[in-house]
């Protein structure tokens, strides 16, 4: 029963002592039970400690906006896998194995995630010797055998200007039987260096967890700092943060709609959207000087304010963006050859999306009604409700349509908020962090749910800081979308998800 866990809500903290410590079997049963009753896992991680490994699991229930936290201690060097019955845990369990050196017993896909050494010296989930160089991407890939079956390997260095990752396709002619995605190339050791924090570098590092989600991640981090420091964020700052977050969504959705058009060979929409995306980034630069929102949010509020002249300037720019973007998207939607290419390509069924625990537009395109802004509202979204955009078919077309609907909602939101920014300050001073707490914060980045969890020690320093980028949930969704498709569908499917490598690799 989920009643065994401690009930929380988004942006809140609780004393670690209030988080029930369950026996391991009861802890695992509770995860199974809860996920069977509509809860989903938002974070599952260990404290790499040596012999006994404390494990924490945080779950979310979207209909009522509830979060729950519980913990256990795993004695020994082995943890039973729940993945066969609860696939949404597959990457979380592999991550625990890699970080804590715990072997996950019965995991069907037991491989490293980021190819680094365990945080516990001398303890390795795969029993690799200490002098093993742990070469990234070198592992046993799933293979399909048989006549005329062949393998296509792509990456880490790709053809375009994108981040590195390795993709292994098992193909029969043009048809893809299976795609395996192996990452870790971008691993910068972010979670590990946060232990003992925060320090003066922390906020900037949060902004670059995934640089295209600067606001999404920095905001989740600030929400943790604010609940731990009991800082009240002024309403004006909440609105400015909301504007920045929606501009980030708008820019990325616009860019991806253009990229999807480009991959079908439809250049008018690709060209227009590429330029319009830049216009939106320039709006963020009006706010803070950076096209990627660097230096917008800070614990306690925002660094910059918006005066009336800048608001007018932004409203004028927004009008032009709305006109041009609507024109560019309508052009694509009224071109049958483009729509025919998108429809039925890269389908992820509702059942698969649910099992894998997909988040963000990818989940919504498959019919799952989940959006942190609606289900676990934070900041300005507690006051202003955004309509939820969902699709039905789960194909590239649905993901593109959801992106466009969300972009329209973001346009409306930013326009409305720019005209009613509350008066008052935009920044309050931060306070020392509370000791021995667990805090959780969720935001809805443009790719989906961004989750930050922190545990503090008796000095208020970070004992453990867990980051879950939406891509961490969604990479397997991309792999499933390719099943039974043509290998030439990959770029199109990939653009419709547009997942973060560095956000996953951390």
């Amino acid at each position: 029963m989920i009643a065994a866990a401690h009930s929380m809500y988004n942006g809140s903290s609780a004393p670690v002592s209030a988080i029930p410590e369950l026996p391991l079997d009861r802890f695992l049963e509770t995860i199974m039970d809860a996920t069977g009753h509509g809860w989903r896992v938002i974070a599952y991680f260990g404290l790499p400690r040596g012999v006994a490994t404390p494990l924490y699991c945080l779950l979310a229930e979207d209909a009522e906006g509830r979060l729950a936290a519980m913990r256990t201690v795993c004695e020994g060097d082995c943890l039973p896998s729940l993945t066969p019955a609860c696939p949404q845990l597959h990457l979380f369990e592999r991550e625990i194995a890699e970080q804590c050196g715990l072997a996950i017993e019965g995991h069907p896909w037991f491989k490293p995630v980021r190819f680094h050494r365990s945080w516990v010296p001398g303890r390795d989930a795969w029993q690799r010797p200490a002098d093993d160089p742990l070469t990234v991407g070198v592992m046993e890939f799933f293979q399909v055998a048989g006549d005329e079956v062949h393998e296509v390997a792509v990456g880490p260095v790709h053809a375009g200007i994108i981040e590195p990752g390795h993709f292994r396709f098992q193909c029969h002619g043009e048809e893809v039987f299976h795609l395996e995605i192996s990452l870790g190339f971008q691993h910068r050791g972010i979670e590990r260096r946060l232990i003992g924090g925060p320090d003066l570098k922390t906020l900037r590092q949060m902004e670059v967890v995934a640089g295209d989600t600067t606001i999404g991640h920095a905001l989740a981090h600030c929400m943790l700092m604010e609940t731990l420091g009991q800082v009240k964020v002024p309403p004006r700052a909440q609105v400015l943060r909301g504007i920045a977050l929606e501009l980030e969504r708008l820019a990325n959705h616009t860019g991806d709609i253009g990229a999807i058009a480009g991959d079908t060979g439809y250049l008018p929409t690709a060209s227009f959207c590429g330029r319009i995306r830049g216009d939106i980034l320039n709006m963020t630069a009006v706010l803070c000087g950076s096209r990627f929102g660097r230096g917008v949010v800070t614990p306690g509020g925002t660094v910059f304010d918006l005066d009336a002249a800048r608001c007018d300037d932004l409203l004028k720019r927004l009008q032009a963006v709305r006109r041009d973007l609507t024109d560019a998207v309508e052009l694509m939607r009224s071109t049958p050859s483009v729509m025919a290419r998108l429809e039925g390509t890269g389908t992820v069924s509702r059942e698969v999306a649910l099992e894998l625990g997909l988040v963000g537009p990818a989940a919504r395109a498959s019919g799952l009604k989940r959006d942190v802004r609606v289900d676990h509202p934070f900041g300005i979204y507690r006051m202003t409700h955004l309509p939820l955009a969902t699709g039905f078919h789960g194909d590239v077309c649905a993901r593109a349509a959801v992106r466009w609907q969300e972009a329209e909602k973001s346009l409306d939101f930013v326009e409305e908020q720019l005209q009613q920014i509350p008066t008052g300050g935009h920044r309050t001073d931060s306070c020392p962090l509370a000791a021995n707490q667990l805090a959780v914060a969720l935001t809805e980045g443009w790719r989906g749910e961004v989750c930050h969890v922190v545990l503090t020690d008796d000095q208020g320093r970070f004992v453990r800081y867990k980051i879950v980028d939406p891509s961490f949930h969604n990479w397997q969704g991309l792999a499933m979308a390719l099943r039974g498709q043509q290998i030439s569908d990959f770029p199109l499917c990939n653009k419709s998800f547009n997942l973060s490598y560095c956000g996953s690799d951390l």
Partner: protein, 244 residues
């Protein structure tokens, strides 16, 4: 088809006139810094990335600077001057009383080869996708990098140079070196962004290499976190001698 033509007429020709006309920058852009002479008495914080050195009147290393919105160093303020790219690492050090450096044009021999057609292979080695995105944006119609004969290509075999973003994670180090080796000589190297120059926000952390300095010979340093596309373009245009 007629709809596409009508849209094109409506949206108009949008390639910017730069470098023939100046570019308007956002008022809050943090570009080339203005340093006041450090007297040693003012209340000032330290730069957490070690970019500011108060010794000898004070200096700011643009290779380490992240152009933070709330820079703690009292002697540092930023102008909206986006021209930041230079050719040598030590030219990134800004001093209040010293001269200003810009990227230099390629040698006559390289200019003959690359001046009208320069192809890059980009490698992200731990980049956060911001430098990557604002490099990519140069190929959109607004910037239209192709009109200068510069292009990003799919294969290192087709490239004249390597374009690096990111602090060079250990897991990308070999792939980066392999890509460099696959580019036929003569070749040039561009370090784009604070990470590629010196590790950026990750400088000194164990899972990365503090950028490519010391790993590869660098011909163009483009500071910023991330650099504005105008900063990148300006550096490239100086490199190929289109502006000076």
């Amino acid at each position: 088809m007629i709809r596409a033509i009508l849209s094109r007429i409506r949206q108009g020709h949008r390639t910017m006139p730069y470098p023939n006309e100046p570019l308007a920058m956002p008022e809050r852009l943090r570009g080339y810094p203005r340093l006041t002479l450090a007297s040693g008495n003012e209340m000032s914080g330290d730069c957490p990335y070690g970019a500011y050195d108060p010794a000898a009147g004070g200096s700011l290393d643009l290779g380490r600077c992240l152009f933070c919105a709330d820079c703690p160093v009292a002697a540092v303020s930023f102008t909206t001057d986006f021209q930041l790219a230079v050719s040598r690492r030590d030219e990134l050090i800004v001093r209040p009383d010293a001269g200003r450096y810009h990227a230099e044009r390629l040698s006559a021999q390289l200019l003959k080869l690359f001046g009208r057609s320069l192809k890059f292979r980009e490698v992200s080695a731990g980049g956060c996708n911001a430098c990557e995105a604002d490099t990519n944006v140069l190929s959109t119609i607004g910037w239209d990098l192709g009109r200068f004969g510069i292009q990003f290509v799919a294969s290192p075999r087709h490239a004249d140079g390597l374009w690096v973003t990111g602090p060079v994670t250990h897991n990308m180090r070999q792939a980066l070196l392999d890509t460099y080796a696959a580019i036929p000589a003569p070749k040039i190297v561009v370090a784009c962004g604070a990470c590629a120059i010196g590790g950026g926000p990750f400088r000194g952390e164990p899972e990365q290499s503090d950028g490519i300095d010391g790993l590869l010979p660098v011909d163009l340093y483009i500071p910023g976190c991330p650099p504005h596309p105008a900063t990148i373009l300006e550096g490239l245009l100086r490199l190929i001698g289109r502006i000076s």
